[in-house]
Subunit: 194 residues, 2 copies
DNA sequence: TGAATTTTGTGACATATATCAATTGAAAGC
DNA sequence: GCTTTCAATTGATATATGTCACAAAATTCA
């Protein structure tokens, strides 16, 4: 058995909860999935490659980032029960401008994009899952626009603490700083309460 | 006839182009649509109301904005061949935090959310249209995050010029300023080339 | 057409945050 | 355990951009 049943159950449970589709209607053919693991610091995707799968994280932590003037700008963190991919690259079949890298040893279930498309075309349930998951992403991104663009450094950090408190204890501070669009020095000062 | 055929054709053409679904497969039952017009400055949706429809703009211009500390922050502009709604409110059935207001006299086709859900549940084509349109929105928002958060005022304005040049000639400058997260004075100086 | 309102443009000044530099502290590797 | 690399803190300084105040255009509308 290439893939643990417990991992698949975790994925089904996650999809059901996220979409409000009853779990018994969330059917996944085991054969299209593979379980993979990534060592800390290992790259899952590099700039310039087309993202060919979505991965559901069973355990561990991944970050996405791109390079701006040679410096890393973090765009997201994905932990257990999150789905990670380079979205634009995946859906538009273009080279990714971002990297995906494991920040911790990670196990994940990989669903190839081709298989996802097949699921879409053969299953109403999956078509709906795809739409709802994408809607969720939109809502998340719209919030991110608001907070990143129109709030102070302190507010952005407080919002991060409120919305994703788990990250703060797992992700190095300089990565968090770039994720919320603040220099690491400024974030350091905010955290020390100045 | 409540609704002009030419408007419906415009909508079908738009959806076909945006999703790459052949136009003959984009079927819309006329009875679920209504054509409406809004006078300049008229409100289409107010903060606190639940957004109950998506509107396809046949002609004219609409903005969305929310209030932050009593001041307006613009979140989007929607012109001919754009779709406007308060996304989070629409898909999560919660009161909107934003306003939708016509900036020009506008005609639009209104599709109630209930009808959209019905289309989703009875038509594979529409399920796919919904998913792809949502994917497009995600890509747009992800770009917006990048530009608003990590670029200088000048770069943000230049990017706006590049990506949505039509807006610059139609939208008052102070609205553009708030849309790209810059004070109107700063934008004024950027435009005058200082 | 003329008054009133809204929009845009400039100057002076304030300030949040970035940048640079140096230090300390923690983690990784041998 | 010691060395080396990486991460976090702290201070001094620079700067982009915001804020305030006022004036000039441009629109609106009666």
């Amino acid at each position: 058995m290439l893939i643990l049943n417990s991992s698949i159950e975790k994925l089904r449970h996650f999809l059901s909860t996220a979409t409000h589709i009853p779990i018994e209607k969330v059917e996944i053919e085991e054969s299209v999935l593979t379980e993979t693991s990534y060592k800390k610091n290992q790259y899952i995707l590099s700039e310039g490659s087309v993202c060919n799968s979505v991965i559901f994280i069973v355990s561990g932590l991944i970050r996405s980032y791109y390079l701006k003037d040679g410096l890393e700008v973090n765009t997201g963190f994905y932990k257990e029960n999150d789905i990670a991919c380079s979205f634009n690259s995946l859906v538009n079949r273009v080279p990714s401008n971002e990297f995906l890298q494991a920040l911790e040893n990670t196990t994940a279930i990989v669903l190839p994009y081709e298989s996802l498309l097949k699921l879409y075309s053969t299953s109403d349930q999956w078509q709906e899952i795809g739409r709802i998951m994408t809607e969720r992403e939109c809502v998340y991104l719209a919030n991110r626009v608001t907070f990143l663009s129109f709030e102070s450094a302190r507010t952005k950090y407080l919002n991060l603490l409120k919305e994703q408190p788990e990250l703060v204890n797992r992700v190095p501070v300089h990565h968090l700083a770039s994720y919320i669009g603040v220099s690491r020095e400024t974030l350091s000062r905010i955290r020390s309460g100045i």
